[in-house]
């Protein structure tokens, strides 16, 4: 044990402690929670600083989904008809929560791709040998990505209010809060994928064959009707995120919320539960994978 009794924590300078051995452990325990929290916050803040210093990332993360939304809305709008209608929901409106999910997904992806850069540029090494638990490093990264995603999601939600959607104001606020959970789950999922990758190209491949299809089959782009595709959609955790956003947006708007196609979506409680579980599961996986010290941590 540290019989020299040297303590270093929370701004306490190196100083011999007359008490000897046990003081080291006590000091460490009492300071560790605040210390970890402060480390999480600093890593999260760093993500934001980096984001605003790389403006092109904003264009990629929000520009493309908004463009999709406008173009698909215009192109598919005239032929789009929801089953069991009775409500006049345009494709632009149908596609809105899906676009929101896409913005969250894109930002999540862009911010977790930076793990690969952190590793390659060497920054990650210094975090790996810092006296913080690995979960706090994961949480800092995932929270940073989440906050960025949610901020952009809110911009898009604000846009939705101005272009004549039938969403309610409390609905938009509730969807705004729920997007935090969806974004957290997606960022943590991105973390799991990016952690072991050694190139951003590899991440792009995963994005095309896994993440984008996951989004396409979440009810974001078209509703689940029947057949095998609908089974895949029910099994996709993101389906519950998109359905949750959709249900929340129409909070209090009973004309739309009570229509047949909305009734076919999973219930709100199910959406919330599954999405929370998805977030917890992906975060747990992130911590687990980051906790394994292997030679993969090396440059």
């Amino acid at each position: 044990m540290a019989s020299d009794g040297v303590v270093l924590r929370e701004g306490v300078a190196l100083r011999p402690q007359p008490g000897g051995g046990s003081s080291d452990r006590d000091a460490h325990n009492s300071g560790s929670t605040i210390h970890s929290g402060s480390a999480v916050w600093s890593l999260c803040w760093r993500e934001m600083l980096r984001f605003v210093r790389q403006r092109n990332r904003i264009v990629g993360a929000i520009g493309q989904p908004v463009l999709f939304w406008a173009l698909f809305g215009a192109g598919l709008g005239p032929t789009f008809q929801l089953a069991g209608a009775g409500t006049d929901v345009s494709y632009r409106e149908y596609f809105f929560p899906g676009t929101l999910a896409l913005i969250l997904l894109f930002t999540a992806i862009f911010s977790t791709i930076s793990i690969i850069e952190d590793r390659r540029e060497g920054f990650l090494q210094s975090v790996l040998v810092a006296p913080i638990p690995r979960w706090s490093m994961v949480l800092g990264k995932v929270l940073g990505g989440t906050v960025l995603a949610v901020a952009q999601g809110w911009l898009f939600l604000a846009l939705g209010l101005t272009v004549g959607m039938k969403f309610s104001l409390p609905g938009v606020a509730a969807a705004g809060l729920f997007s935090f959970v969806v974004a957290f789950a997606l960022t943590a999922l991105g973390f799991v994928i990016a952690w072991r990758m050694d190139s951003t190209q590899g991440f792009h491949a995963i994005m095309s064959v896994f993440l984008l299809p996951m989004w396409l089959l979440s009810g974001a782009f078209f509703p689940a009707e029947s057949g095998w595709l609908s089974w895949v959609m029910w099994a996709n955790p993101l389906t519950y995120g998109v359905a949750g956003l959709r249900r929340l947006l129409y909070l209090g708007e009973n004309a739309v919320a009570g229509s047949g196609w909305m009734a076919a979506l999973p219930a709100l409680a199910v959406c919330l539960t599954v999405t929370f579980a998805f977030a917890v599961a992906t975060f747990a996986m992130s911590c687990w994978i980051a906790n394994k010290r292997t030679t993969g941590d090396l440059l």
């Binding site: 270093l8 929370e10 760093r46 040998v129």
Partner: protein, 316 residues
């Protein structure tokens, strides 16, 4: 009781898959020492650095750092060591001050104490007027100084550096050494570094020469050189093997052929020049006599040249 050793390594073995990177390494580094691991690339020093910095877990053997077990008490070890990696660990998109802030948070420093330390580090490393600059705009030498400032910000008792002078021009290299010696003198920090540069290892208090995963020699640079004995005589000749055989036969000396040159060590080098020149006139193109260098130590211990070892050494 304060233990005198900053680092105690015993029976350390490390493998990357099948490849043996460290083969039963044992050594001890005193507190307040400037200690260098010298070896060709692939010699095992980077692996040892990674183990000491707790970046990779101990597979077999033991590492004690500042009287703590590096395997079981990694967290406590991490609070007490400063690590400067070979690859820069700064965030280039952040300013110098922001990088220091980020580091402070990871080590649980905040408020007044952090501000004081930051000021102190910026002054000590001549960075005060660059605090607001993005790291990507700094030169290699300045970046290395920021790395040092970062590594020392939390006042570690042990500073570990992996190939610290890589990519630095001679001026910045000299500065680096000045800083390292000052850190040791003023704060009593133990400095442990790896290097593949012979002239750099010469500046350490003690050094361990590593080759093929083993420590082949460990002592002060002076004593290592005197171990080789006297002067090093090196002969250039068109027929090194034959000449070596003749010298062995005629004088009964231990002679080696390294890199196409015949070489051996003698206490009275200059006298040997005359003796060899008369004895083997016509077979010798040139003779050089010099004080032994660390390279000679390396040759004496491993039987081959330092650069050669680097070329055949498997990359880490």
């Amino acid at each position: 009781m304060v233990s005198a050793a900053a680092v105690v390594v015993s029976g350390l073995v490390y493998r990357y898959g099948q490849r043996l990177a460290l083969d039963d390494v044992s050594l001890s580094i005193d507190q307040g020492e400037v200690f260098a691991f010298l070896g060709p690339n692939g010699g095992g020093k980077t692996t040892l650095f990674r183990l000491l910095s707790t970046l990779i877990p101990v597979q077999s053997g033991e590492i004690e750092i500042l009287s703590l077990d590096a395997a079981r008490q990694a967290h406590q070890v991490r609070r007490r060591i400063g690590v400067v990696f070979q690859a820069p660990s700064l965030d280039r998109k952040l300013t110098v001050a922001e990088n220091l802030w980020q580091h402070a948070r990871l080590y649980g420093l905040s408020g007044k104490v952090f501000q004081e330390r930051r000021r102190e580090m910026l002054l000590r490393f001549g960075l005060a007027d660059r605090a607001g600059d993005l790291v990507e705009t700094l030169s290699g030498g300045l970046r290395r100084r920021v790395e040092l400032a970062k590594g020392l910000l939390h006042r570690p008792q042990l500073l570990l550096l992996d190939e610290p002078s890589t990519g630095l021009d001679p001026g910045a290299r000299a500065d680096l050494w000045e800083y390292l010696h000052r850190v040791r003198a003023e704060d009593g920090v133990t400095v442990v570094l790896t290097t593949h540069l012979l002239e750099e290892a010469d500046k350490a208090d003690r050094l361990a020469i590593m080759n093929a995963g083993r420590v082949v020699a460990l002592d002060t640079p002076e004593r290592l050189r005197s171990m080789v004995g006297g002067d090093t005589i090196s002969i250039e000749t068109p027929e090194p093997a034959a000449l070596a055989a003749s010298i062995r036969e005629r004088f009964g000396r231990e002679v080696t052929v390294v890199d196409g040159r015949v070489r051996f060590e003698q206490p009275d080098g200059p006298q040997w020049v005359a003796r060899l020149a008369t004895e083997f006139a016509g077979r010798i193109q040139s003779i050089t006599v010099g004080k032994p260098t660390l390279e000679d130590v390396f040759i004496a211990k491993t039987g081959h040249r330092f650069r050669e070892a680097e070329e055949v050494g498997v990359g880490e």
